[in-house]
């Protein structure tokens, strides 16, 4: 008892104790928060592997499973862990009775019937993983077509974004001119512009060009730079010492050569991080593909999955299987590039 009091005293009175207590509480909050974050992911994965029958009857379980059964008089009956007089047996439930009671029998001796309250017994399950849900889901929709479209939009757009944003960020970080500062402010202010105010005329423009229902409206604008990525790259370019430019200038390099051979190689971490951000944006984007793509063969995964849900919403196992496939690339990318990620975020502005 006194030991308990001693340690309590240590926790409350000493500075070390305070720190220990504080770290303990912090870890506890973080751990329970993590559980709340991870359970939906677990539910998604487990549901994608479940038998549809389980989703109807035993949906809240996080494990893909099936009731264990035993053959009694030729019929499969569910098995329970039954406690009788403090002893545990594996008995089968053969008949439901009124008032929550049931008739249980030992599968090896089905002639002796025990009447017990069903809720007091524990039903037994076995793992039942349906990998087949994945091929079934992929074949139920033009998955590869959607994936191809998504990859085209994502990567061609990324090339356009990197190309245009590098040029523009270079212009805004290395040159002095009367209107450049004003233009930069204008660029920044577009971050706060709600896209709806320009969306309708842009849609009409693409319609007149005959581009609606092609991937072009999702790709072409990327070649004209965007405020977010220009800002990010410019912040990074500013940290590259000017002496490097000057040395190259003395060697007779023109501004384009300086960008290509001095700035861009130095800025690789920033380029990779805006590339990753663009991947996440384009891969997950739903609003613009929904508006610009009308026919099935042009859809991206996001639109395809949403429509698949609208048609087959009861097939939860298939929809979760496609959902898992859709979140795998971003998650993998995140795990492989975590360091770049956090660096990129540090640059994304706060300090700007």
């Amino acid at each position: 008892m006194s030991k308990v009091l001693d340690s309590l005293h240590w926790l409350i009175a000493s500075a070390k104790g305070h720190e220990f207590l504080f770290k303990g509480i912090t870890t506890l909050i973080l751990a329970s928060g993590s559980v709340l974050i991870l359970i939906p992911f677990l539910y998604m994965i487990s549901t994608s592997l479940k038998d549809p029958a389980q989703i109807r009857s035993d949906s809240s379980s996080l494990i893909p499973r099936k009731p264990k059964t035993a053959e009694i008089n030729g019929n499969p009956e569910p098995l329970y862990e039954v406690t009788i007089d403090g002893q545990v047996h594996e008995y089968a439930l053969i008949k439901n009775l009124p008032d929550g009671l049931g008739q249980f029998v030992d599968p090896t001796r089905p002639d002796i019937i025990h009447e017990l309250r069903i809720n007091n017994q524990r039903q037994l399950y076995r793992w039942d993983i349906h990998w087949g849900n994945y091929p079934e889901a992929i074949n139920a929709m033009p998955f590869w077509r959607y994936l191809g479209n998504t990859l085209i939009v994502t990567f061609v757009g990324m090339v356009g974004m990197l190309f245009s944003c590098s040029l523009v960020a270079y212009g805004f970080s290395r040159f002095r001119a009367r209107w450049l500062d004003l233009l930069f402010l204008l660029l920044l202010s577009t971050i706060m512009l709600p896209s709806q105010v320009r969306l309708i005329p842009v849609y009409i423009l693409f319609q007149k060009l005959g581009w609606v229902d092609t991937l072009l409206p999702l790709i072409v604008p990327q070649f004209f730079a965007n405020a977010y990525d220009v800002f990010l790259l410019r912040q990074f370019f500013m940290t590259i010492p000017l002496e490097l430019d000057d040395a190259a200038k003395i060697d007779g390099a023109n501004p384009l050569q300086i960008l290509l051979y001095i700035i861009l190689p130095q800025a690789r971490p920033a380029l990779v991080s805006v590339g990753i951000f663009h991947f996440l944006y384009a891969w997950n984007d739903f609003y613009e593909p929904l508006i610009f793509l009308h026919s099935r063969e042009n859809w991206t995964l996001a639109v395809g999955l949403q429509t698949f849900d609208a048609l087959y919403t009861v097939n939860t196992h298939l929809i979760m299987a496609i959902s898992v496939l859709m979140i795998v690339p971003p998650v993998l990318l995140f795990f492989f590039s975590q360091k770049i990620f956090t660096q990129g975020v540090v640059f994304s502005g706060v300090k700007g």
Partner: protein, 328 residues
């Protein structure tokens, strides 16, 4: 492009020209995809336009349609007096969501960032986990949450019933009173993106400030309240402005959650008819581009005024290190 072939220009002139040349892609994009369309949509907002026939000038008719009946509705307290009750419903839903989700998101992500800035074991693992949901936002995650929240087959209600002991858990997205709170829960799950911005800000707070405060005998709470919090107000400000704008553009989650239900977009009973959903309906379901442009411009003016309001108020509560330095 050869710059040395322009010998007669002064160096400064040449530098300026090169600067402009490099930002040309953005200038062209700005003209074609931003300022041009903005002016065009302002024009369309005074027309009747269905894309097929040329736009027809109707003056202020679209604005009248949105705002008519407002005095009668206020006087009688009857929302049916509005010329376009759905416009007001959409505003109300959006503001209701914003008033719960924004403060909650700001507070939760800030507190998480403070915790994730502590030196505890496994900190990188915790950071990864909390950031994970914001990487996978969109359709897949919304479809997941629609199922988690489903009163019949979901896992949230069995949890509330069996573990917490709530006898009649709400129907969430199926219940007009609980649909918006359900969306708030979904948004709270993905606070990671604003959390990571706070975290970056926290790591930028100079440690000598804390050391100096420790020497002066400030305890942990005083250090938090007098150093961490003021230093973080610019980030709070940034997250508030961008969060407010994002709320007015809230779309994917609502579309995915409600478009496949029988009652359709914004269901049940228009309880999730967010402003952007209503705008989308008018533009791309009814092809009423004139009225949709009017809605877009009203949205723009609301967002602009709220942003200006937040900027105005920022003098009172946002602390910029540079200002203080300037005074000293």
């Amino acid at each position: 492009m050869s710059f040395s072939s322009l010998p007669k220009m002064s160096l400064a002139r040449r530098e300026a020209l090169a600067g402009y040349a490099f930002v040309v892609p953005w200038i062209i994009g700005f003209l074609i995809f931003t300022i041009g369309p903005m002016l065009a949509s302002l024009y369309f907002s005074f027309t009747r336009y269905n894309i097929i026939d040329p736009p027809q000038w109707v003056g202020l008719a679209n604005y009248e349609r949105a705002f008519s009946g407002i005095w009668d509705a206020i006087r009688t307290g009857d929302s049916r007096q509005f010329g376009d009750p759905l416009f007001w419903k959409a505003l109300q839903v959006t503001i209701y969501f914003a008033s719960i989700a924004l403060p909650l998101n700001l507070a939760v992500s800030f507190l998480l960032a403070v915790l994730l800035n502590q030196k505890v074991r496994g900190i990188n693992l915790w950071r990864t986990i909390f950031f994970l949901p914001s990487i996978v936002t969109g359709v897949a995650v919304t479809l997941l949450w629609v199922r988690i929240l489903n009163p019949r087959v979901g896992i949230l209600n069995p949890f509330l019933k069996d573990v917490i002991g709530i006898q009649n858990p709400p129907g969430w997205l199926a219940d007009p009173d609980w649909a918006v709170p359900a969306l708030v829960i979904m948004s709270l799950w993905s606070v990671g993106s604003s959390m990571i911005i706070y975290l970056a800000g926290l790591q930028g707070v100079p440690t000598d400030l804390y050391d100096a405060a420790k020497v002066d005998g400030a305890n942990a709470w005083q250090r938090f309240w007098n150093i961490t919090f003021p230093m973080m107000t610019p980030v709070l400000f940034y997250n508030l402005v961008l969060g407010m704008i994002a709320t007015f553009q809230y779309f994917t989650q609502v579309y995915v959650a409600t478009s496949s239900s029988i009652a359709g977009l914004g269901s049940p009973q228009h309880s999730t008819l967010f402003y952007n959903i209503y705008l989308y309906q008018n533009a791309f379901r009814y092809f009423d581009m004139g009225y949709a442009s009017t809605l877009a411009w009203i949205l723009f003016i609301i967002v602009l005024s709220l942003t200006a309001l937040i900027f105005r108020s920022s003098d009172a509560w946002v602390y910029y290190e540079g200002h203080l330095r300037g005074r000293i």
